[in-house]
């Protein structure tokens, strides 16, 4: 791919100043994988620290910075940008038959903002007094903390701006730039899911931005939004924060589901089961309910009883649209012709991980049961299943799925499957064990558990699982590098998919198609018949 003869500078210039949606997407991918690698390293350090009672490898201050970085980077630096940055940018114009996004320069701006955010986040490890306020940044601690809260605020704000610019851009693209004949009723599930995710981002990101800005104003400018001694309110922040951050879970979940839908349809050679219900009931339903459940994060925060009970019901009702989506995914297998390539294995892995994560959410939805496991390792295991690893399985599966198209190389199927198997085992050893550690009463964000020494065996097993998990991801990384340097050239449509992105040349050139395709007779899921 690199240019020849003194072309390194030109090559870099071409990539850094690119306004091509595919290159922007790939640069998003590189940044988010870098965030994933560093945040993953933090996770390993955290697990080593917890593998025995007492200080193991560090002191509480350093440990708290690791926890902060792991959470903030995994969500804001890895999952959201990988999904709404890489997949959305790279894939949506290809799936709707557009030559690029609506505003290519705005797209480059959001990419640059994202990279600034990544760099700002990485500065955590260089500045004196790095932030130690967890990714939630609750005041008054974030105001009292000796750590540098401003880094948190500005990282969130910059990532937020990137997200808003990306959202405006891609929503416009989907509405106005579909190829002739690409009607709403036959869009790929990924397009629907991502559009819903961007709508959620546009509504809720400003609220997170407001909340974190108020924290830094309190800390550095002497305002008192969250200081009760001067008429402020501590709970205001928690409400604002979760008013965004619960919907953020669906900003991650929706594109994740979209990728799974498309992988399953392709490898089962089948139509999406009950497409309309999945779109209007499932995706639409999730979008509508996303903003009405945030108080379940505050069940133990002394909110009025009536709202805790109301949000308990709305939280339970999320099972309805999510259930409809899962029904369509599993239904797509019915009467299919399923081929078990690596991307499909990740999609199947997703179904099982998401099932465990989703079902363990039911006791958490009930305020009276949540009260015991709230803020314990149980909830850590739950959200890692449902969001962290289920989401990452979808991202990794999606990367494998589109790998031939965006790199032009095939990957090694054996290495891919081996990586999947090791990761899947590691995930379950780690997080299934963690449920039981949490049920024993182990609170989250603990540096030490001297008062509960009986948990050491369980904690150690979790740490062993985490190492298996890390080996699995390393195998995956090796398979990607192996493919980049030694992979066979990929054909245009290695999976025999009917979806529009596979009709381009591999890799797609500038403008994607020589002419905008006519989609009058096209159907992304037109299998069988």
């Amino acid at each position: 791919m690199s240019g020849s003869g003194g072309g390194v500078g030109k090559f870099l210039k071409e990539w850094i100043f690119t306004i091509d949606h595919k290159r922007v997407g790939i640069l998003y991918l590189i940044g988010s994988l870098a965030a994933f690698a560093v945040a993953g390293l933090m996770a390993m350090l955290i697990r080593v620290e917890l593998s025995s009672v007492g200080p193991t490898i560090t002191d509480p201050n350093t440990y708290n910075v690791w926890l902060y970085f792991h959470g903030a980077a995994m969500i804001l630096g890895f999952q959201i940008p990988a999904l709404t940055g890489f997949f959305a940018n790279w894939l949506i114009p290809l799936q709707i038959g557009a030559k690029d996004v609506a505003f290519p320069r705005l797209n480059a701006l959001s990419l640059w903002l994202f990279w600034m955010g990544i760099i700002l986040a990485l500065l955590t490890f260089v500045v004196p007094n790095p932030p130690d306020i967890m990714w939630t940044g609750y005041p008054p601690y974030s105001i009292l903390s000796p750590g540098n809260t401003a880094f948190y605020t500005f990282t969130v704000l910059i990532m937020g701006f990137a997200s808003i610019a990306g959202g405006v851009n891609l929503i416009t693209t989907i509405i106005y730039m579909r190829a002739p004949g690409m009607r709403w009723g036959k869009l790929n599930m990924f397009v629907w899911c991502t559009m819903a995710a961007f709508c959620i981002q546009l509504i809720f990101v400003p609220i997170l931005g407001t909340a974190v800005t108020m924290v830094s104003m309190d800390k550095y400018l002497g305002t008192t939004f969250f200081s009760p001694t001067s008429g402020g309110d501590v709970l205001l922040y928690q409400n604002l924060f979760w008013f965004y951050s619960h919907p953020a879970v669906y900003v991650i979940l929706l594109p994740v589901l979209g990728i799974i839908f498309d992988i399953v349809a392709t490898f089962a050679r089948n139509r999406i089961f009950n497409y309309k219900v999945a779109v209007y009931g499932g995706v639409g339903g999730i979008t509508l309910v996303s903003g009405e459940v945030w108080v379940h994060h505050l069940y133990a925060s002394g909110m009025p009883n009536w709202i805790r009970v109301g949000m308990m019901m709305s939280t339970l009702l999320i099972s309805v649209p999510v259930g409809l989506c899962m029904l369509s995914i599993i239904g797509t297998l019915y009467r299919g012709a399923i081929e078990f390539k690596t991307p499909m294995l990740y999609a199947i892995g997703f179904i099982f991980l998401f099932l465990i994560g989703g079902l363990t959410g039911i006791p958490l939805a009930l305020a009276s049961l949540d009260i015991y496991v709230h803020d314990t390792h149980f909830i850590v295991a739950h959200f890692h299943y449902v969001m962290a690893v289920a989401g990452t399985f979808s991202i990794v599966g999606g990367i494998y799925y589109f790998w031939p198209k965006f790199t032009g190389k095939m990957y090694n199927e054996t290495l891919g499957k081996l990586g999947f198997a090791v990761t899947f085992i590691g995930v379950n050893v780690t997080f299934f064990t963690m449920f039981f550690v949490g049920l024993e009463g182990m609170p989250r964000r603990y540096f030490d558990y001297a008062q509960m020494p009986q948990l050491e065996d369980g904690q150690r097993l979790v740490t062993y699982g985490a190492f298996v998990l890390a080996v699995g991801f390393l195998i995956t990384l090796i398979s990607w590098l192996h493919s980049l340097f030694a992979g066979k050239p990929a054909p245009d449509n290695p999976w025999g998919s009917k979806s529009l992105e596979w009709t381009t040349s591999t890799p797609p050139g500038p403008g994607n198609w020589p002419d905008v395709p006519n989609c009058e007779k096209f159907d992304p899921y037109g299998y069988g018949e």
């Binding site: 001694t229 050679r269 018949e529």
Partner: protein, 246 residues
């Protein structure tokens, strides 16, 4: 032709069996000690029920998925799926029936969770009230006469204990795993929880809301003692306090 319906039938089976597993443990709801409800027993009961519910649903869902994966694996290269064409009625059926089942399960669990919630949030009339002020990184308990203890919550056995709490610096969370209770304490607001010690003994207290460097060291204990022992301890502390104050 009939085969077309077997996913629907297996899905229905999932929920019917889940319903049965939940319903069979209906009796013996919330054993009470006299007038005082018992949230710990209620918790254990409902937790077990929900665990059975989700295990049954999870296993059946997983089995259906595995069955579909095996049945419809690709048997020859180039094989295509045979998509189901849903009639309008079938389309709505596949939406409305699952929605109904999901919602029925939701409302059923919601109702039970609500009942238990009420007993968690309604301290009995006869409760003995103790004030808590949390700080980085300790718990200060104040008894009705003004006696104070740090990190040790001494309580008489047989009396429901109501802890009213606030915080002098940041948000903490009083977590007593043995009594299945937890509530955040925070500056500027007064929150509460109650529990009912029935036996003499000690119970761990930990902080469940991140509060900085020594968050994980912020532990203490509930010491449940006989009423007589508690009264004489409180009286002697009270005397010491009055003497010191005079």
């Amino acid at each position: 032709m009939r085969r077309r319906f077997y996913p629907l039938i297996s899905l229905l089976l999932v929920f019917v069996s889940a319903g049965i597993s939940s319903a069979k443990s209906e009796e013996g709801h919330f054993p009470t000690t006299g007038e005082i409800p018992d949230p710990v027993a209620g918790f254990n009961h409902l937790w077990r029920e929900v665990m059975i519910d989700i295990t049954v649903v999870g296993i059946l869902f997983a089995l259906v998925t595995i069955l579909l994966l095996i049945t419809y694996r690709r048997k020859r290269a180039g094989q295509e799926g045979r998509p189901v064409k849903l009639s309008t009625a079938a389309m709505f059926g596949w939406a409305i029936i699952p929605v109904f089942i999901f919602m029925a399960d939701d409302f059923y669990l919601g109702a039970k969770g609500w009942t238990l919630w009420n007993s968690y949030r309604t301290p009995p009339e006869s409760s003995y009230e103790i004030q808590l002020e949390s700080a980085m990184w300790s718990w200060k308990f104040t008894y009705p006469g003004g006696v104070e203890t740090y990190n040790e919550l001494k309580v008489p056995v047989g009396t429901p204990i109501l802890v009213r709490m606030t915080s002098s610096d940041t948000v903490h969370s009083l977590f007593i795993p043995d009594f299945k209770v937890k509530e955040d304490s925070m500056p500027g607001r007064v929150t509460y929880l109650w529990f009912h010690p029935k036996k003499v003994g000690e119970h761990l207290i930990t902080c469940a809301e991140y509060c900085g460097m020594l968050h994980s060291n912020m532990s203490g204990k509930v010491i449940a003692m006989e009423q007589g022992e508690f009264d004489s301890w409180l009286a002697s502390e009270q005397a010491a306090l009055t003497e010191g104050g005079a």
